[in-house]
Assembly symmetry: D3
Homo-oligomer: 314 residues x 6
């Protein structure tokens, strides 16, 4: 069973909207090597897990749970990059297209116009070429060594693609999230490589993939300095054996050490997203808004009354 | 951010393996109206949510978090239905196909042979016709009323399809899970219909869809008698405003009341899945098994030593 | 603009249900060379038509309009073949699965279980392997000669596949429809080949494709004897220049003549389809049925009153 | 059976070519919520219809027949928006690329270059991101209430997306068609909502979706003033029971009344599309053109002779 | 540039037709981890290769060329398994379905009826669930280490799946081809693992994947005894640097040695496939057959005359 | 079995990078009518060939083998057009994004950003709208006449689309390859049309498709003057009967003659592709580069020693 808190695993940094940056980032969300796949691949592998190798199960599943939070993070980043894009910077209004002015004038020229037609300037479950995510991306072979190697290739590809995307834009909203994912993908490379190391493989100097000094990306450097790329979290409320594998020297063989934690040391508030009247989002007209408000107030009051009498709603 | 406990939201009931039942149930997992879609649709809707209607956000997201646990439940049910199917009932052995005996003799005649080729007798992210799940299934229009109505149609379709699947098999493993999902889909119908009720719609006698007395299915009756179809859970560790909407009379207008809870009243152990040597799952040979065991023992000891000295690993 | 009459282009012949026959026939509906493609391909070609070759436009579009009626015919044939399949022959009841008896006991073993889960024993827009129809099947090159040749290949493939399907079953419901489509596909081969003949190609003895004596199929022979394979219909309420091309000697060079008609010489009643309570189709419970009936009666009466006073509703 | 007249349901208004407007409009044709889906969904629902609720059948099918004409309208609108785009405004010539001048110089920079490679500056069966239309878009659950609600969600999404597209361009060719479809989608919302109203649901003030004053779009206002958004057409040559449902007060509860008509009060000529030599469309060289012309002339004369003697070709 | 000889890389062994074995084997041809993917993945990687690591390029490309011959082998194996299946064992006849006897009586009950409708009892570019092969299967990351690891995972999955398929049938036609591919996939695992070894990775005892004694499969044992699993072929007519990598001790660390050869030590005749009149394959009627024969004879004679005078046609 | 030489069938001509030209050319590689399809379609047709019409088999297969070399040519052309695109012209460096300068600054604005994320500025198996290649494109009907006609339509469409692409850009890299493919597609049209001519069809003046004077494209004229459009190659190392069909007068009926050759009269060197550090391609860091170099040197020397003693490695 799964639980949630309304916090982000990394902060959304503010910058200008940039719809082509949002589109590039879609690859990291709904692409073949994006977060939707890592999430689903590790969940399927752990739900279908066979045998009694509990530490391996807990490792795979722990990473998988984290990936749900990555989907959350990257979705909100894309949404932020699209918000008010390409040129319209907000303000609530009740007359879309008033005076004949096309308020979404440039929308149809953007990389994926479905960001403005299907969604209300929000993330979509598609890749950077607009192809919908496919279940065929999920690999769950059942053979433990092979599943671990497949996961290592997956994380390495994720890291490679994000290093490429990083270079495509200096937008701070994009770079903050991408830098975080580069650091985390490196931690996940360590996780699966370490699991394979326990089964006899010596990685020499091959890791991480791609092999370069990521501290040349300033936003990544800051995270590496904080050790983000050598921690793994269990996100388990009832204990985990992940730490039996994810500890000791990192398989990158660079002198660093692996640390298992229950959860990240810090979490971050989720910024709220403004209404978008030109997208009819959320699209309550005054009459419906009144209904909603009245109900909320009434229930709020009722709830408080009830609680005062009977204790907190469970 | 998301968290996990190693418990199931409903128990797996034991019965014979049945690969065509497993295949039918794939529709409920990876089909267009299955749990992978509900999970993804509600997560996208909540991550992309606009405006300040927090109770609506919390309602959609709360159902979405539950759906991850449904994916977990249905995946494990399919896995169990396939385990040892079609005819082979287990026992560890180290010589697949020894003596020329084709141990997976009937596998190629089953509904989806990929259950035995791609997976190791485990669930796949596909529908009952073998089509991979598609991101195009996820609807997130941005308009609140429309998103709620889309969700209501989705839950109603899920319930309809599961009522059809229920009739296809008397296998207890299948029926236990399907009955639970029928009851929960009804609760979710109530959730989205109630939200629309707060915005002015009166459902009359139209709900639930399909309209029939589900207590005629004995396994469902038991759950309805326990009130499972009128509860909704927030699964939130930090509070939720879901209860402002999900309370009071049910929109089925049948005299029942809605109750918001933090989590289900009960949870259930996750049964472990045996090795499948004929599938090379997990496929560690004695040498690798030794490596894994030794490491585990050593670390186990080390960990205990460290803990004895320094307190529990965080 | 398009119009409709509630008649079929060929009669549905009664026989036992046969879900694997229905599945094979799906290839003729939603397959790459099925009726959904011919319909869409010719409609796109005629809507996008360039230049002043009106007889060519009218020929392509005329065949295209007929294909909508083929989609209608084949959909109803599949629906009929599935009705009550695999073993349940009907009778209205209000307790699906009463007594624990799985009324759709064999459904999950059938070729495409989605016929019983997605649809209510009705046709689906998929092929015989369960793949959804794709817009990529539609070819509209813009070059007239090429479009005509593509259409000729399409009709020939349709005829080839239906000749193969014909041999797969002696079910009369299947054979009546397949035989009709074999005859009509031959007429359509003539249509596109004749159009190419006017542009200079001599087909020698190559047509029709496949080249064999289709009168060996008794149901086809009857239709050929009636001349069905040498007629083409315009289905135009406002005149057509199709007849400028579709007349004279057939390009099969077998001594037959082509005849253009406005519509088929005969049309056939559409059989009604019974309710399927086990599918919750249509699924109105007594209360909703009463509402519907009352309204219908009331309006019926009102309508009659109004008409008596004011003349027929336009 | 289906029939056709060579008229459009709404006029094509003349303006400059605009390939990105054409691409946005593809969403309305081949997108998941576009006209190809509405057409196919309603046709499948009516062909697979079960039970004796003829007014419901006639309502669904009547809307379905109209959708074929919408496919016709939107296809021709896209084709017009592409015609001569991006920069080349016509004139017949016989030397593509003469003098080394790239006549389709900008084509490869446009939103979907397949408009210029696959098609000859014509509409394609794809969405605005270039994904082919999929049969999985068609929902036909078999349960009447659910099918009606699915249709209501579909029409609401169609209307929402078209309201967004409307704001993206002031091109008159685009706006004329989009405005018409906004008005008609509202009529279709009324149709399905009214059918549900007869089964007991009261929509309050929730309709139409999206909820805003569409008369702020001038082209839409004109159509609403003419009542286009409260009429529904049967398009049936042999009578229809649609009017039993589609009459009386509109479910938008705004004091308007619903009116059932056999067909729209007006229809419009189909503009012819010029040749596009740079696309080899239609691509007849002088020799083939002579053959075609000679044949046409000869047959024209023959036909007239025959008619003079024997009466009009049937 | 590519060349061909009409020989097979492994013989087709004769046995009874078996359409479900053919269907299982489709996974090895058109599945996500089948031969079409390996062929395309290695060709793309070698065509897009960057840098001066010629031995790595030659290794990847050499395996890629071999995979084309594997596509040839597996296609012909499937074709053979389908030939005359499910029950019809041949003999040329000219009256398909004569006497009303459905000669393809059982075809519609087989695993993929498209084997009998789309193809003429021949292989299709689809997987064992009938999904068409997708270009998204091809991974070409550009990073050498990652591409090599991806290839290793791919070959390991191929070998795993074929070991599973091997156990599904004792049909000799299937087993001969599958056993050969198991041995070759192991050689390819060695190839990519060895390339990674040169870059610093030590595989310990992890290879091959899956880790078990494949000599328990008798047909595989014979090939391993002949050393087939430790040879790699360049298939290059103009020299190759593959041997710089593929030599020395095998990365399975089992004491075996790797050997680079230009081509396999033996090649095998391609059996011809009989006509299938019930499939209209090839479908020449007597008249067309005469034309073909006459032409062939005439040209045969002419060619011989010309050659006698002028020397062999180049 | 297949063999390879490291030569191209046509030279890569040097010009500026042009990513939108590369994207348009993707249609010719991974599009529905591109080289991946022709290659796969003819290979499947020849592998599944039935009957004793060896000259027809050899003709289809011969063209098929050539298509592999076309995939090689077009892949390398796309790769070249992307190399250093959009604006960055190279030079090896070890600090991607050094100084915060986004070196792939414009990449996210290009037509298909996956060229820079998925691939390392290399070709992808997708079409010009980013859709992955699909196995459903491959048509292999089994009926010889139909397969030949399908192939003729395919080659004609290929030629039509390439004539359109030719006009889109004056880039010499693009035009050299496209012009060659226009000439070769015309040869392939001749091949399949001639095969149909032997079976009785007279093409009159209908060929080639599209019908226009291609010598108006200067690069094509040069190739036609050299006779490239009337030659066909067998690419068979062990003889072929293709020449029985592909000889005599061309079916274009323009007075030209067909000539069968074993291989093209000329072949061309394959240009090497530079490293792309910003893409981490190939991405060996100095340490790994040393390992690779050392090994290569050592083996080089060893190999030479061995050869000096024992003769060339086979």
């Amino acid at each position: 069973m799964f639980y949630h808190v309304q916090s982000l695993i990394n902060p959304i940094v503010d910058d200008q909207p940039d719809p082509s940056a949002a589109n590039a980032l879609q690859e990291g969300l709904g692409g073949q090597f994006g977060e939707m796949r890592t999430m689903m691949q590790y969940l399927f592998q752990s739900f279908n897990f066979r045998g009694d190798g509990i530490p391996y199960l807990d490792l795979i599943q722990g990473v998988g749970i984290e990936e749900i939070s990555h989907v959350e993070l990257i979705t909100k980043t894309i949404s932020r990059l699209l918000d008010g894009a390409p040129e319209y910077h907000g303000g609530k209004y009740d007359v879309p297209g008033a005076g004949g002015d096309p308020v979404m004038n440039m929308a149809k020229e953007q990389k994926n116009v479905q960001h403005f037609i299907h969604g209300a300037q929000g993330a979509l479950p598609v890749d950077s070429a607009g192809n919908p995510w496919s279940g065929s991306y999920v690999h769950n072979h059942g053979n433990l060594v092979l599943d671990l190697m497949d996961n290592l290739v997956l994380e390495s590809t994720g890291r490679l693609q994000k290093c490429r995307i990083y270079q495509m834009s200096s937008n701070k909203t994009l770079r903050a999230t991408v830098a975080y994912l580069i650091a985390r993908d490196e931690a996940h490379e360590m996780a699966f490589a370490k699991a394979l190391e326990t089964l006899g493989i010596d990685w020499g100097k091959a890791l991480p993939i791609p092999k370069f000094d990521a501290t040349q990306f300033p936003e990544v450097k800051k995270l590496i300095d904080a050790g983000i790329n050598r921690e793994q979290y269990t996100f388990r409320l009832d204990g985990s054996e992940m730490g039996k594998i994810f500890q000791g020297s990192a398989p990158a063989n660079d002198g660093t050490e692996l640390i298992t934690l229950t959860e990240p040391r810090e979490s971050f508030p989720i910024p709220s997203a403004p209404e978008r009247p030109e997208e009819f989002a959320p699209g309550l007209d005054p009459e419906m808004q009144d209904l909603a408000d009245a109900l909320a107030e009434f229930k709020d009051k009722t709830l408080k009354d009830m609680e005062r009498k009977a204790g907190q709603n469970p």
